[in-house]
């Protein structure tokens, strides 16, 4: 089939499909509701006419490989785009069919034809509810808000699924530390979304206390009784790794929404709440850069000791030091 012929067919097909959708729109206009029968009729017509899309696309793909005037990278780029479009077509078709048949959609539904990694985000935290987008996860220290790792999965999985990759990333960072004693993760806190028995088990096996993850909506006591400390160490079987003072500190750190909000707000003002880079990789790059910029600003605050009372107390208890920013690093160039 010649290129010109393919082009004519594609234009004709596009015109017909647009005409059908226009007719559908006109029939629905002013009704204030969409009739299921009408939707199903239109679906049948669209599928009947749209059946030609797939063979047409395959013909174009074949034609693409036999065009000598195209450069190699140009051909590869077009081929990739066409393959992605064909794959997206299959996903969208199956999703639309489920809808027209009155079936519920699966968890990760497609909301953008050009980027299947975007998902509906049903959370309104940080005063910025996003209907469709991504849900990055961060793991930070609660004293100053330094973010150790970032995880940005495809779609919108449960919050509990973020923990293991984030802890893995922190351990990779710890493995790079050359000073002794090597730091270690003692405890992990989170909101009620992380309250998962399997996750607690995994964290205990790693030697991490989970007292900061609540089991109910009731707030954690600021300091546990000696009996509570012993009970926690017994339950988690971490006698040999964790000390009672570490349990006390884990309780004190707990999960504080304002502390987390401050880190998130800092990221949002650095553009992490509005992703402009394309695709999943672009989102990771943009959020990653925002996290690094935030961390640098946090380190400046630590150097200058511009910290909250709470942060200062935790730093003292964790025996973290503070030095002036230009003391040991006079020139970076």
């Amino acid at each position: 089939m010649q290129s010109a012929e393919l082009e004519v067919q594609a234009h004709q097909l596009q015109h017909d499909l647009q005409k059908m959708m226009r007719r559908f729109g006109r029939q629905c206009r002013g009704m204030g509701t969409v009739f299921v029968t009408l939707v199903r009729q239109t679906e049948t017509q669209l599928l009947e006419r749209g059946r030609q899309v797939l063979p047409l696309a395959q013909a174009v793909q074949e034609r693409l490989h036999s065009m000598p005037q195209l450069l190699e990278d140009q051909r590869a780029r077009l081929d990739t785009q066409l393959t992605a479009a064909l794959e997206a077509y299959h996903w969208i078709e199956s999703q639309s069919r489920r809808l027209t048949q009155g079936k519920a959609l699966t968890h990760c539904k497609i909301v953008n034809a050009y980027d299947p990694t975007i998902a509906p985000i049903c959370k309104g935290k940080s005063n910025c509810p996003a209907q469709f987008g991504r849900k990055p996860g961060i793991i930070a220290e609660p004293a100053a808000g330094f973010i150790f790792a970032l995880h940005l999965p495809v779609g919108n999985p449960s919050d509990a699924s973020y923990v293991e990759p984030l802890v893995d990333n922190v351990e990779q960072a710890i493995a790079r530390v050359r000073t002794r004693p090597t730091p270690a993760i003692h405890s992990l806190a989170g909101d009620l979304a992380l309250n998962d028995a399997a996750l607690r088990e995994v964290l205990h096996e790693r030697g991490i206390l989970t007292v900061g993850i609540p089991k109910t909506v009731d707030p954690l006591p600021p300091s546990p009784t000696p009996e509570d400390v012993l009970r926690i160490l017994d339950e988690t079987d971490l006698h040999h790794i964790r000390t009672p003072s570490q349990v006390h500190l884990a309780y004190a750190c707990g999960y504080s929404r304002p502390v987390v909000e401050s880190s998130i707000a800092s990221l949002l003002c650095r553009g992490a709440g509005h992703l402009t880079y394309k695709g999943h990789r672009g989102a990771i790059v943009q959020t990653g850069m925002a996290v690094m910029a935030h961390n640098a600003a946090t380190l400046v605050r630590i150097h200058q000791y511009r910290l909250s009372k709470r942060a200062r107390t935790f730093r003292r208890r964790l025996r973290l030091r503070c030095r002036k920013v230009n003391q040991g690093n006079a020139s970076i160039n």
Partner: protein, 188 residues
């Protein structure tokens, strides 16, 4: 030659030169911010990753714009909430941005428009990927831990929503909404 003039102006050795560090006070926020990064380790990680994934077939051709400059620009872009064009423009005129990008000495040349073109920054960004970003973050965290500034002993995990793309409202949508609103409000 034109590209060389546009991209690596400070290497052309024309006009009187000045030391960038002399112009930026030690208390300047961008200087303090830039001083916290372990630049050598970060640049080495980026160069290693690029060399593995995008091997150069030949050593011929113009030397590329320094990774140090591009990485700093990308970070500054987030810190200062700029576009590619804005941050590249600031690099030309803002001495603090030059300092953050690791430029030590600059030759004064009024005719010069850009140090780095926004397209070059976009090309650099296109090469960054997930493992590299995780590595860069790990390097930054490890350096902070080594310096005794932060501790991973007690951590907190949370997620936040971020919307993808620009949510532009076009004229047609605004008009449609306005008409709909006025018609619904005029109903008894």
């Amino acid at each position: 030659m034109q590209l060389l003039r546009y991209l690596q102006h400070w290497l052309t050795r024309r006009g009187p030169g000045f030391q960038v560090a002399d112009f930026v006070p030690e208390t300047h926020p961008i200087r303090q911010w830039a001083d916290t990064f372990p630049w050598a380790a970060l640049v080495a990680a980026v160069d290693r990753s690029f060399a593995q994934r995008f091997p150069k077939p030949s050593t011929r051709g113009r030397p590329p714009v320094s990774t140090r400059v591009l990485l700093a620009l990308e970070l500054l872009k987030q810190e200062l909430t700029c576009s590619d064009e804005q941050i590249c423009s600031r690099l030309r005129t803002d001495v603090a941005v030059m300092y953050a990008c690791g430029i030590t000495e600059v030759q004064v040349d009024r005719a010069q428009e850009h140090f780095v073109l926004p397209e070059v920054l976009a090309q650099f960004r296109r090469r960054l990927d997930e493992p590299l970003m995780a590595e860069l973050l790990a390097i930054q965290a490890a350096t902070a831990m080594e310096d005794g500034l932060v501790s991973p002993a007690h951590l907190v995990v949370d997620t936040f929503p971020s919307e993808q793309g620009s949510q532009r409202v076009n004229d047609a949508a605004t008009l449609y909404k306005a008409q709909k609103k006025s018609s619904s409000s005029s109903r008894p």
